[in-house]
């Protein structure tokens, strides 16, 4: 095992934080959305409550975020997906403005204009998109910029296994390989593209095998395990930093919640999630750390309570924050130009 104690503890802390964040969000999200708080006749109102709109949670997928981001600095770019919280937290996006954004508050990352699928944090070079397959061209651009600026920064494009069937995947893989861009394409295979299993949508068993078609290495990571992921991607990151070009990595991971909160998941075999949870990567890592004497039971308790406190405090910050002034909707269409409305007024 190449990964040192400090990184291991960091990965554990972050995974605990992410899991608790997602569980807290799952609960808060349902506030006000169920009878008797909503209109008679509705079973569920997606637009009601303190956190309205769609909500895609990443519980179970924490190892992907931390295993990759453990290699990155603030100068490296991460472009995430519509299910972005684990990537954002692992990349260091501060919890307060991130959470406030999901509450639609003026203190949010985007002053309440983006919401949970559209988180932008320049300081940590993090962004994401609600469009499937959109992360890849964007990461190519960040990598191109790094190359032009003569820096050894890398750009990571996260995407799901469903996105590997989008045209943007093929175009970006070719472009990145052709121009030797320092991009790490990370395919997060959680088996499900909303309700469609990978076997019914994808022509190959391993998307990583497609790398050969573009003249770049493909790495298969069969275990949803932060340490395995960290070690498997190390050569890819090093290769990109050396200026030798991109790598495609595919990680088998697990989605514990539905596609979105409120998803009835009728398509999912009964008992699948319970079985997946038997292999939960977080207690597994905790046990490993304790077995190797890298963490005591007391430290574990302390970490858990510290991480929970950070998350609780972020949700409290979001609740206490103010909503934007409705007229703020007319601003920020363009930078240094608060007259978007004037364009056609």
């Amino acid at each position: 095992m190449q990964v040192g104690k400090e990184k291991l503890l960091w990965m554990y802390e972050k995974m605990v934080q992410i899991r608790y964040y997602e569980e807290t969000m799952a609960a808060v999200y349902m506030e006000g959305k169920l009878p008797p708080h909503i209109q008679k006749g509705l079973a569920f109102d997606i637009g009601a409550g303190p956190v309205p709109g769609e909500m895609h949670l990443a519980a179970g997928q924490e190892p992907v975020g931390v295993g990759i981001c453990a290699h990155l600095s603030d100068e490296d770019t991460v472009v995430g997906t519509h299910r972005p919280h684990h990537f954002a937290i692992a990349k260091g996006v501060p919890l307060n403005p991130m959470t406030a954004e999901m509450f639609g508050k003026v203190t949010g990352l985007g002053k309440g204009k983006g919401g949970h699928m559209h988180l932008f944090d320049n300081a940590h070079k993090f962004s994401c998109s609600g469009i499937i397959g959109a992360s890849m061209p964007m990461a190519c651009g960040a990598a191109l910029a790094a190359k032009k600026l003569g820096k050894n920064w890398v750009a990571v494009a996260f995407f799901g296994e469903g996105a590997a069937n989008q045209g943007s995947f093929h175009e970006s893989m070719n472009l990145a390989a052709l121009w030797k861009l320092p991009v790490i394409f990370v395919c997060e295979d959680n088996h499900w593209a909303i309700s469609v299993p990978k076997t019914k949508a994808t022509s190959v068993e391993w998307i990583a095998d497609r790398a050969a078609g573009y003249g770049m290495p493909g790495i298969r990571v069969p275990e949803n395990d932060a340490v395995e992921i960290f070690e498997a991607v190390a050569p890819a990151i090093a290769r990109a930093r050396r200026g030798e070009g991109p790598t495609l990595i595919e990680i088998k991971t697990d989605r514990y919640f539905g596609h979105f909160q409120g998803d009835p998941e009728t398509y999912r075999p009964k008992g699948e999630v319970a079985a997946l949870r038997q292999n939960d990567p977080i207690p597994k890592l905790a046990q490993m750390l304790k077995d190797k004497k890298l963490m005591t039971a007391e430290q574990e308790t302390l970490i858990v309570s510290k991480m929970h406190h950070l998350v609780d405090q972020a949700f409290e910050f979001a609740r206490q924050s103010e909503y934007p002034n409705p007229h703020d909707a007319l601003q920020d269409v363009f930078v240094s130009d608060h007259a978007a409305a004037r364009a056609l007024a």
């Binding site: 770019t77 472009v79 949010g108 990352l109 985007g110 002053k111 309440g112 204009k113 983006g114 919401g115 559209h118 932008f120 320049n122 070079k125 962004s127 998109s129 469009i131 959109a134 890849m136 061209p137 964007m138 990461a139 190519c140 651009g141 960040a142 990598a143 191109l144 910029a145 790094a146 032009k148 600026l149 750009a155 045209g167 943007s168 175009e171 970006s172 070719n174 472009l175 052709l178 601003q331 920020d332 269409v333 363009f334 930078v335 240094s336 130009d337 007259a339 978007a340 004037r342 364009a343 056609l344 007024a345």
Partner: protein, 346 residues
């Protein structure tokens, strides 16, 4: 000494880009055939020789990847110019344009700056049929988040290009093929004009009064400005004097210039090469309708535009659906004879 040098619009655009690339090392160009070829419509002619392949980058035919990469590179601090060869090709990359380039600034609360210039060729009139002849500036102006620049001549094109490159926001720079001064396509002489050698920027949102007249206002843009100017000359011979207003940019649009002219003339003709429905001509008409408390119209508004059919191939068909000089003259003459209904006297 005042410059008397005449350039084509293609030469003027490429000169504007070159001057900005010399001034600012962050500016670079990406696109299909923009290097050794110099751009299919000449907008990047000579740039490869001047700046080399690291800054003048031919791309694979992968518009989603390289337009998305332009957005990514801009977010990272660079100032890409990226070419979509024909605007008609937006179908293969529109997600990157309108869901990302146009929206990320807003969704980030104004924190993400995207100084991208997206150049693209527009327009018909040379029998290239439905997939290579559209204007579509109305489509891009309809969706918030992108500034839309549509020059009608070389002088303006250079100044507007320099302004576009310096703007911290996404700018769509749409040049009509039929005014680029290409050696392989007929063009309007008026579109090649005197272009100063020094660098200069033309602010967005400032329409230009191309002809001054008191009888009616012709609001127009792009190649249609040249047609409208010719039509105005013909009309002058029969005693009808038109204001011809070149909008130059649609986002932002010079609303005041339109209102001012129509207040003066009381008659409005919109000459547009984009589709008639839900577009520029409707927008200008609505603007006037919303300001009827301060405008007295003498005649109903007249719109000339492509009548909601794809651009046909055959010459007589295409010449029929795209407004021509004769159509503008005829419409103006008819407008002079029309009257608005009198408001009922109470």
């Amino acid at each position: 000494m005042k410059s008397t040098r005449i350039l084509t619009m293609a030469q003027a655009i490429s000169e504007g880009i070159a001057q900005e690339m010399t001034r600012d090392a962050d500016v670079f160009v990406m696109g299909e055939d923009i290097g050794a070829y110099g751009g299919i419509f000449g907008a990047t002619g000579g740039l490869l020789e001047k700046f080399g392949k690291d800054r003048i980058m031919d791309t694979p035919i992968s518009e989603t990847a390289f337009i998305g990469a332009a957005t990514g590179a801009a977010a990272a601090g660079l100032r890409p110019i990226v070419e979509l060869m024909f605007v008609d090709f937006f179908g293969v990359c529109m997600d990157q344009i309108y869901n990302h380039l146009a929206k990320n600034t807003y969704m980030s609360g104004g924190h993400v700056k995207l100084p991208v210039v997206l150049t693209t060729a527009i327009g018909g009139g040379y029998s290239d049929a439905a997939q290579h002849s559209q204007c579509l500036y109305g489509t891009f102006a309809h969706m918030p988040g992108i500034k839309v620049v549509v020059p009608s001549n070389a002088h303006d094109a250079k100044g507007l290009m320099i302004q576009a490159i310096r703007d911290d926001n996404p700018v769509m720079f749409m040049y009509h093929k039929g005014i680029m001064g290409l050696p392989w396509m007929a063009y309007f002489e008026g579109s090649s004009n005197v272009v100063p050698e020094e660098s200069y920027a033309i602010p967005f949102g400032q329409a230009k009064l191309v002809k001054d007249g008191a009888d009616l206002t012709i609001v127009t843009i792009s190649q249609m400005v040249q047609k409208a100017a010719l039509a105005a000359n013909e009309l002058a011979e029969i005693g009808i004097h038109a204001d011809v207003l070149d909008l130059r940019t649609l986002v932002p649009m010079d609303v005041q210039a339109v209102l001012k002219s129509v207040r003066k003339t009381g008659r409005l003709l919109i000459a547009d090469e984009d589709y008639l429905g839900f577009g520029l001509s409707g927008e200008i008409s609505a603007l006037i309708a919303e300001n009827l408390d301060t405008i007295t119209l003498k005649a109903p508004i007249k719109r000339l535009a492509v009548p909601n059919v794809p651009i046909p191939y055959s010459r007589p068909l295409e010449q029929f659906v795209i407004p021509q000089v004769a159509h503008i003259v005829q419409a103006a003459e008819e407008l002079m004879l029309k009257k608005v209904a009198q408001a009922a006297l109470l």
